[in-house]
């Protein structure tokens, strides 16, 4: 996302209020646009009359949340490898091959998701009566997995308007299909509509990419992807562990305290899930700050440092390294201050929000605090990825996953503990670990670069 960061910064550098507001608005829309459009559309669809039917809303929400959780946990790791390989191709100006890689990966993602979705659905929603729900679940999983893949390459084009338009078109189709299918198939109809909406969005994004970049033969795309995945296995592990970490507390709560629509195992725990959902929206300002300032600053400092490393005298290199470390620290601090203000504001507003949105204020406060640390973790992980310190990123992400899963399991037998506390502790601990790795990596980054240039896969 560093590319859009630079474009938005140019807006900000006009030093006008309209420029600043424009950058902030555009940043928000680009960072969270698809998310907001999807959420709003689903919320709108859930107001369709058929959702009022008994168990429909619960079955729909349960299956949708499970599809997202399963999709992220299963595809995040391979997706990171795909992003890495695509980035390498784009860097080498092999746009046509990047486009072909996207096509093939999207096809594989869709094809692999269908049996996975079918298997999961068979486990969670057995019985002949649930057959439409199972089919819809498998299709939704395939659509969502394909959408992740499509989103990764399309951002390179910086055609953000088209991306949002694709989401808009997909969600519109979803809404109208839901209105048609919902009354006939109930929750399954809603899921079919959502799958179609996401599927259409994914197709549009793939088409935009292929039309923009062209397609060049890349016969060994799959082999390249596997090789990249193996070479960057710690990156893949990071993706997997981070996704598991993000969902572990929810899954534990679903298992121990969740409710499911009769005849299905798609359990959810609304008091927690709703609070989490809204708390998570609270990191959007921080993400925009990250895109506009933190990432672009870091990118520039890192680039300057690498140029110094190749061409300058040792004292200049050491000064650049110190500057990189110091600026990174300052950037994370500023971003945290900004997000801290947002967090405090949301915490203060919690009682008012909880009444209207249907969650417990204390849970929301805990989760808003957790979101703060999760943003720090995300930022540190992202910087570790820039430095290609994948091993450190993987350890941090694994700590996140294990801590969240372990603490959540422990807390499951102690209902007196505030909801979200395991997630808060896991986020804070993993963020601290990632920051420590980042600090260590930056302190020795000149050596690390030379080691890699010497043929050592140091830290990868």
């Amino acid at each position: 996302m560093a590319g859009i960061g630079f474009e938005l910064r140019r807006l900000m550098e006009t030093r006008t209020i309209s420029g600043f507001l424009g950058a902030a608005f555009s940043g928000t829309f680009i960072v969270a646009g698809p998310w907001i459009i999807s959420a709003a559309s689903v919320a709108a669809a859930q107001r369709l009359p058929f959702f009022a039917g008994e168990g429909v809303a619960l079955a729909f929400t349960g299956a949708m949340v499970w599809a997202f959780a399963l999709s992220l946990c299963a595809s995040s790791g391979p997706l990171y490898a795909f992003v890495r390989l695509s980035a390498d191709l784009v860097y080498d100006r092999r746009m046509g091959e990047a486009s072909t890689l996207l096509l093939k990966t999207a096809a594989i993602a869709a094809a692999a998701s269908l049996p996975l979705g079918a298997a999961a659905a068979a486990l969670l929603a057995p019985g002949a009566a649930n057959a439409p729900l199972r089919a819809a679940f498998a299709l939704l999983l395939a659509a969502v997995d394909t959408l992740w893949v499509a989103m990764m390459t399309v951002t390179v084009l910086r055609k953000y308007g088209l991306i949002l338009a694709s989401y808009g078109a997909g969600m519109l189709v979803m809404y109208f299909l839901a209105a048609r299918l919902g009354p006939v198939l109930g929750a399954a109809g809603g899921l079919f509509a959502l799958a179609a909406g996401y599927g259409l969005t994914a197709l549009l994004l793939v088409a935009i990419t292929v039309v923009s970049l062209g397609a060049a033969p890349y016969p060994r795309a799959l082999r390249g992807l596997l090789a990249c995945g193996w070479k960057c296995r710690n990156l893949v592990l990071s993706g997997f562990a981070y996704a598991v970490g993000t969902w572990a507390d929810k899954v534990v709560l679903w298992a121990f305290r969740g409710v499911a629509s009769p005849g299905t195992g798609f359990a959810v725990f609304p008091p927690y899930d709703t609070a989490f959902y809204y708390a998570n929206l609270g990191i959007i300002p921080g993400l925009v700050f990250f895109t506009l300032a933190t990432e672009t600053d870091f990118h520039l400092d890192l680039k300057r440092f690498l140029v110094f490393l190749a061409h300058r005298r040792q004292p200049d290199i050491e000064a650049a390294r110190v500057r990189l470390a110091r600026n990174s620290r300052i950037a994370i601090r500023d971003q945290s201050l900004f997000q801290g203000v947002v967090t405090v504001a949301l915490a203060l507003l919690a009682p008012a929000l909880s009444a209207g949105l249907g969650f417990s204020a204390p849970t929301f406060v805990v989760l808003v605090a957790a979101a703060f640390f999760q943003l720090v973790l995300l930022t540190a992980l992202n910087m570790l990825f820039y430095l290609e310190l994948y091993r450190d990123a993987a350890v941090s992400a694994l700590a996140f996953a294990f801590l969240n899963a372990g603490l959540s399991l422990g807390a499951a037998s102690h209902p007196v503990l505030p909801l979200g506390l395991p997630f808060l502790l896991a986020c804070a601990s993993a963020a601290a670990i990632a920051l420590a790795f980042l600090r260590r990596g930056l302190a020795a980054f000149d050596r690390i670069v030379y080691l890699r240039a010497s043929g050592e896969e140091f830290g990868r």
């Binding site: 190749a310 005298r313 040792q314 290199i317 050596r447 030379y450 010497s454 050592e456």
Partner: protein
């Protein structure tokens, strides 16, 4: 009684590349059939084509690719009693080596297992990084750090690879140069407790220095570092060899300057099979035949020869030129030479013969020309003398002594005009040249006869053999009153 087993340690020549040193080695092995030879060679790449048929007394050949170190993970501390920390040992040795002090080679080599290199440790270990940084600040304050790092890395990778190479078993390690071959022979001496004999044709460190100064890709401090590395390795080899032989006195003096002990140095000139080159001469009328005998490679400066040919043809249109030697070692350069001949419009007067029996040409050549930019004691001049052919040459190595300082026949390096003048002088003074040829032939028989060379090396080897005499005729005792085999001064 077991046959003596001599390990010849060779870098970048025999048996993969033809040339003076390779011919010398081949003749030596073939001439000493009573000795078993083991080849321990260091090559820039794997699986090179053999250019020689191995004599039957070559009993083993172990080739090490210089740029491919033995696999080895980072080792914090070597295992086994008495073994220190290999990285600390290596760094300490580096400091001593480049501070002008004698490095603790025993310690360095003892700290490494054979077949496991320090090359990775030297960059992976944070101490090595700190050390490289400190060295860079001291030695390379004005140039980019990357210059220093890559020079350090590449030179030390090679050094550590060589030190970790597992030497074959032998009674004596005989290196044909300093540099990495010399270092390997020295490591073998320290590992196996066997003597180390060093024979130099050219001066390896001087040759490398010239290459480094000419190489455009070696920048800034890298030049100084590489030069220091080669000089220090040469010095270490001279100081630690049980005997250093050189082809001529001037090179011996260089050895002494870099630390060789006078009593451990000896001059053993090149030798050729005079009878083989004593061909029946047959004058081919109607043309003046000029020969260039050697590989078509840059070091022979074939382009200067071609320019000299062009200059001579303007004065002597009947001249014909023969470039006799393999042209497949540096095909790009050979192609450039052919293009140059065409551009000079002399390609109808110049023949690139390729690899041919040189005796066929020695029968009718009127003069043999050498335009090399670097030589030691060129065999081609001795061969021409044995065949009764006068020579014109650039002033390199021992040429001045071989041509008795005759400035009419010696030209500065790359001076095509003086080469052409020398060839014309030979053409215009047939009587004088006939007398000179007879004199040169007699001197070759007296001083540069292969039998003598073989006898002296045979005796040297015998002197270093287990249980052999402390000094052998022609060897250290005969020439200098040298040391006991394998012993230290």
């Amino acid at each position: 009684m077991a046959r003596l087993r001599v390990c010849l340690v060779i870098e970048g020549s025999y048996p993969f590349i033809t040339g003076g040193v390779s011919s010398w080695v081949h003749e030596l092995i073939g001439g000493l059939a009573q000795i078993d030879f083991v080849l321990f060679t260091f090559s820039p790449e794997a699986d090179q084509k053999l250019r020689y048929t191995m004599p039957p007394n070559v009993v083993e050949h172990r080739d090490v690719v210089l740029t491919k170190g033995p696999a080895g993970a980072l080792r914090r501390r070597a295992r086994g009693p008495g073994r220190g920390d290999p990285v600390a040992g290596a760094l300490e040795s580096h400091v001593r080596m480049f501070a002008g002090a004698s490095p603790d080679l025993d310690g360095l080599i003892a700290s490494q297992s054979e077949g496991r290199g320090l090359h990775r440790d030297a960059v992976l270990d944070p101490r090595a990084w700190t050390f490289v940084g400190a060295q860079n600040r001291r030695r390379n304050p004005l140039y980019p750090f990357s210059d220093y790092f890559w020079a350090w890395k590449s030179s030390h990778d090679l050094i550590f690879n060589v030190l970790a190479a597992e030497p074959p078993e032998a009674d004596l390690y005989h290196s044909l140069s300093t540099g990495f071959a010399g270092l390997a022979a020295l490591a073998a001496k320290l590992r196996r407790g066997k003597p180390f004999l060093l024979t130099e044709h050219g001066l390896y460190h001087k040759e490398r220095e010239i290459e480094i100064r000419k190489a455009s890709f070696v920048r800034g401090y890298q030049r100084d570092m590489w030069t220091r590395v080669y000089n220090r390795i040469a010095s270490i080899c001279y100081k630690n060899a049980d005997l250093c032989t050189s082809l001529f006195e001037e090179n011996r003096r260089y050895q002494l300057e870099l630390g060789a002990l006078p009593e451990r140095t000896v001059v053993i000139p090149n030798g050729i099979d005079v009878a083989r080159y004593s061909v029946a001469r047959e004058k081919r009328e109607g043309a003046f035949h000029v020969g260039f005998v050697g590989r078509i490679v840059p070091i022979k400066d074939v382009k200067t020869f071609l320019i000299a040919a062009k200059l001579l043809l303007e004065r002597v249109p009947e001249a014909r030129f023969y470039l006799i030697g393999p042209d497949d070692e540096d095909e790009a350069y050979a192609a450039e030479c052919r293009r140059l001949a065409a551009d000079l419009k002399i390609d109808d007067r110049v023949e690139f013969t390729g690899r041919k029996d040189v005796l066929e040409y020695y029968r009718f050549l009127d003069v043999v020309v050498l335009t090399s930019v670097r030589e030691a004691q060129p065999l081609v001049i001795l061969e021409a003398y044995a065949a009764g052919i006068p020579c014109v040459s650039t002033d390199v190595g021992n040429v001045s002594e071989l041509l008795e300082g005759d400035r009419r026949l010696i030209a500065p390096v790359k001076d095509a005009g003086r080469i052409a003048d020398g060839i014309e002088y030979v053409l215009r003074h047939p009587q004088e040249m006939a007398e000179l040829a007879a004199k040169n032939r007699a001197r070759t028989i007296a001083v540069y006869e292969k039998r003598e060379l073989l006898a002296r090396y045979g005796a040297l080897y015998a002197g270093f053999a287990p249980g052999g005499p402390a000094g052998a005729p022609g060897g250290p005792a005969g020439a200098t009153g040298g040391p006991a085999p394998g012993g230290e001064a």
